[in-house]
């Protein structure tokens, strides 16, 4: 079974530029998550989708971050304009239906460095 796919794996941009990350969840998984993991910290949930609807985006900095999940499958996370403090690993994850009994599977992450 294919896992959660993310791209690009690594990205270096200058502050005030924009960047987009793509995620393809495990086939059949209705729930998709984007996490931000700053070096030395645990992951923090940015946004959770159930199919193509947003369940929780309370921790998403909406002035610069946006995410969409068209057709309830792939998802894109965009940052515009980027700040130095956005340097982090962006982890995409998916689960069967978002209920607590279902395992959340993580991708390998997209590493962002803002200079």
């Amino acid at each position: 079974e294919a896992g959660v796919a993310q791209s690009p794996r690594y990205k270096i941009i200058e502050k005030r530029q924009s960047v987009a990350f793509w995620c393809n969840p495990i086939s059949g998984h209705a729930t998709l998550y984007w996490y931000q993991q700053i070096l030395g910290q645990g992951p923090k949930l940015l946004i959770q989708f159930q199919n193509n609807g947003v369940v929780d985006d309370s921790q998403l900095p909406k002035d610069r971050f946006s995410a969409e999940r068209l057709k309830g499958v792939d998802s894109t996370l965009k940052i515009q304009p980027a700040k130095l403090e956005d340097s982090a690993v962006y982890l995409c994850a998916s689960s069967l239906d978002g209920m607590s009994g279902n395992t959340i599977y993580f991708g390998e992450g997209s590493w962002l460095t803002v200079v």
């Binding site: 992951p43 949930l45 159930q50 369940v55 978002g98 209920m99 395992t103």
Partner: protein, 115 residues
């Protein structure tokens, strides 16, 4: 608000020795508790989870964890560590569904295994 504390930032053990990683949580209701492992450059992998029932939970790779409500702890253990166990370990407490993905993670414990 829920929170997780992993008191040990870094632990070093000899191969074959036993391991215990500490996790303390704060949560108002019955918690959903998780342990994840993250190898360098990789995403997180679920080791085990606790929702209810038996307080001693068995996971993958020979790991187990014990939920102690009186101590608000969910410590991870392994009787004999292998060199391949060197990684970062995260404890997390999850919210009730459908917000199960909004787990609060600790800042992790880095495990080094000496030959």
């Amino acid at each position: 608000a829920q929170s997780v504390t992993q008191p040990d930032i870094h632990i070093t053990v000899s191969e074959g020795a036993s391991l215990e990683l500490r996790c303390n949580y704060s949560y108002g209701a019955t918690p959903y508790l998780f342990w994840y492992v993250q190898s360098p450059g990789q995403g997180l992998q679920l080791l085990l989870k606790y929702f209810s029932g038996d307080t001693l939970v068995q996971g993958i790779k020979g790991f187990e964890a014990e939920f102690k409500r009186s101590q608000s702890s969910f410590n991870l253990r392994k009787p004999s560590v292998h060199w391949s166990d060197a990684a970062e370990y995260f404890c997390a407490v999850g919210a009730n569904p459908p917000h199960a993905g909004k787990s609060t993670f600790g800042d992790g414990t880095t495990l080094t295994v000496k030959p």
